[in-house]
Symmetry: C2
DNA sequence: ACCGACCGACCGACTGGTCGATTTATAATC
DNA sequence: GATTATAAATCGACCAGTCGGTCGGTCGGT
């Protein structure tokens, strides 16, 4: 009998947290199970008790992380009323001091390179994209109803906006000296307004 | 004495080609030196004669590849006169039948995840970005001179356009079912025109 | 007594890099 | 032009180290 009924939930959370940090710091390819169990305060066998293989663990880590980011995006967006403000509410993605950002981008890039070849990771990405797009689409549909946007297809535009976010983020993260935060924020604002508004300023 | 004076050049090209294909097919993390020397038709020692370490070889592969893509971008762009056409001339990046594209994206994603942690790869990226941006900037400056663009900062806009290209490409490549080529081409056209033109259609 | 939780030594597979041996082709010498 | 010397080019067995996963065993609560 387990000493505490919720022990498995606690341990798994503790392992996922440790694994996320370790992967983010060292990179998927360099992380060993030893690193992770050390970070989680468990032995190799103890870790194996909860996640039978490296792949199983890593999938769980990525899933959990994407879910967290999605929830946060949702909550942040809900703080705004105006559709344009909603669509621009993701600027925390360009905040170098944000802990999710610091941990997130390294993991995201790792995950992308995995997704190229492993369909399990591709489907993870697909789900993430769809979640993100559905958030954006709702805001766009709202703006369309209120007549503040040009005539456009909301889903395809939502996909474009989400892609623009990520493209700018890639530059901003990998070559920060030439792509400062101000550039990132301004650029995505301009790009998004260029996509949505009936005429430019 | 070398049997043929240019042997080193020939061998290196042959190795880089084989390495690029192998890395693209299996992924940076999974490729072994054995795989590469087999693909290059050399022994382990033979490969070591030209590239002393895995890292040295891989850096060379990436450098060569980026250079090739840059040259091709330059040539393709030169086919057009109109600045807008020049800026839209990168649509071959969204062609699934293009050999450079098929080989390129897997390598690009690998390279990005490496760039997160290794400054050598980051500087590779930086150079690539700068090359790309300078191409775009020239076209934008031309458009500004001709008065067909709105008032804008050409360098910062060039960076934005290049980022948008890549962001859309990421979606298009990793989740093609939901992001077909038509979406990619249309989206980047709209985004770029939204960034540049004084008013939208 | 039983069982889940956990430990850590160990195994087998793999990998990057080394190194002495071998081949190959030119250059020097007679 | 035959022979020898020389140095690059190439080979592949081998080494040392790493890593994921296993497994027999311990411990503590029930």
């Amino acid at each position: 009998m387990p000493p505490i009924p919720e022990l498995e939930v606690i341990r798994k959370a503790q392992i996922l947290e440790a694994a996320l940090k370790t992967i983010s710091a060292s990179g998927y390819a360099n992380v060993t199970m030893d690193d992770i169990c050390r970070a989680a305060g468990l032995s190799k066998g103890g870790l194996a008790h909860y996640y039978r293989s490296k792949n199983e663990l890593f999938i769980a880590v990525f899933k959990e992380f994407f879910e967290r980011i999605f929830q946060r995006s949702k909550q942040t967006m809900a703080l705004y009323e105006n559709p344009i403000d909603k669509l621009l509410s993701f600027d925390w993605l360009y905040d170098r001091n944000d802990p999710d950002v610091n941990v997130g981008y390294p993991v995201l890039f790792d995950c992308m390179s995995l997704a190229v070849r492993e369909k399990e990771y591709r489907s993870l990405f697909h789900d993430w994209f769809e979640n993100w797009v559905s958030l954006l689409k709702d805001a766009i549909d709202d703006g369309l109803k209120k007549g503040i946007f040009r005539n456009l297809d909301s889903e395809s535009t939502a996909r474009a906006i989400s892609a623009v976010y990520q493209g700018i983020a890639t530059r901003w993260y990998l070559d920060s000296a030439s792509h400062p935060t101000e550039w990132a924020v301004e650029s995505f604002k301009k790009a998004i307004k260029g996509l949505l508004l009936p005429n430019n300023i």
